[in-house]
């Protein structure tokens, strides 16, 4: 974490709304990418917005400003899980893709395979493959143990491989 981010976190914890707005801006893309992998493209931005509002409410309780990134990620991830429990699985035909997408078929297929996994497995796959995080970093962000992260990833890969073998038949 850089000094600017630390000072923004401390100012936001003291009630500075513009400082929190700048924090939201800095983390928006990263959080939305994770949420998209967990809830699907249709619901991800709502989940991140809810998570950011919850983070604003609870920020004064964050003891270590240096852990803001991991802390807000965990909040957004839990919001994603809650939304999935509330709305159930996202029908694949409702998955909206950005207009800038050059290969919508490939995108839909990625999400189709990802949607076969449990939400925690999707998050672990996202943070491993897209963000390139270590097991301990992922564990910190998702509120899991490192051994659980490895188990989720192994099961996710087995599931994807089985689906790919089935698709080739």
């Amino acid at each position: 974490m850089d000094d600017l981010e630390r000072s923004l976190v401390m100012a936001a914890a003291d009630g500075d709304r513009s400082a929190f707005g700048r924090l939201a801006e800095r983390h928006w893309a990263r959080l939305t990418r994770l949420a998209r992998s967990v809830t699907g493209p249709a619901d991800c931005e709502d989940a991140v917005q809810e998570g950011l509002l919850a983070a604003w409410q609870g920020l004064s309780g964050l003891a270590d400003p240096d852990r803001f990134g991991a802390w807000v990620t965990r909040i957004v991830f839990r919001r994603c899980l809650r939304r999935l429990r509330q709305v159930g699985a996202v029908p694949l035909e409702l998955v909206a893709e950005p207009a800038t997408d050059t290969d919508p078929d490939s995108s839909l297929l990625v999400w189709q395979l990802l949607a076969m996994l449990a939400p925690r497995q999707r998050a672990v796959m996202h943070l491993t493959v897209v963000e390139g995080m270590s097991d301990s970093e992922i564990a910190q962000r998702l509120g899991l143990r490192a051994a659980s992260v490895r188990a989720h990833r192994r099961r996710a890969r087995e599931c994807i491989e089985a689906a790919l073998r089935g698709g080739r038949r």
Binding site: G15, R17, F20, G21, R22, A24, E25, R26, W28, A29, T32, R33, R36, S37, P41, C44, E45, V48, Q49, L52, L53, W56, Q57, G58, S60, G61, P98, D101, D105, S106, S107, L109, V110, W111, Q112, L113, L114, M125, H126, V129, V130, R157, I160, E161, A163, L164, G166, G167
Partner: protein, 116 residues
């Protein structure tokens, strides 16, 4: 799942990386401006703090009640417990904590004031 373009897991993870790295539909600046931050709700006290406060209040109340209405423990009891044993023909009544009154029972004709 039919006719997917992924040959193996590596192929899929490569596509996942491309898919996952795409920018969000709403740009960060726009999203941050849309965020309407409500007034902060005061954080709730942890349960252990509430329990400790309740125990403290109950203790103070109990102490005050006991002091006002509890059984009186007079100093006479304390004094009597440290008194030396009296002879069989002597009775003592306490007027107050410092004032004992001795009654000496004796046969007729014996000298007055002799307790033995």
């Amino acid at each position: 799942m039919t006719n997917h373009p992924f040959r193996d897991l590596h192929d899929f993870e490569s596509a996942l990386r491309d898919w996952g790295e795409r920018p969000p539909q709403t740009p960060p600046g726009v999203a941050a401006r849309r965020l309407v931050l409500p007034a902060r709700v005061p954080s709730r006290l942890p349960l252990w703090q509430l329990a400790a406060a309740a125990v403290l209040v109950w203790g103070v109340f109990l102490g005050a009640w006991y002091g006002a209405f509890g059984p009186a423990v007079g100093p006479a009891v304390t004094v009597s417990t440290v008194m030396e044993p009296l002879p069989d023909n002597v009775m003592v009544f306490w007027v107050d904590a410092q004032t004992p009154v001795y009654f000496v029972l004796s046969p007729l004709g014996s000298p007055k004031g002799d307790p033995s």
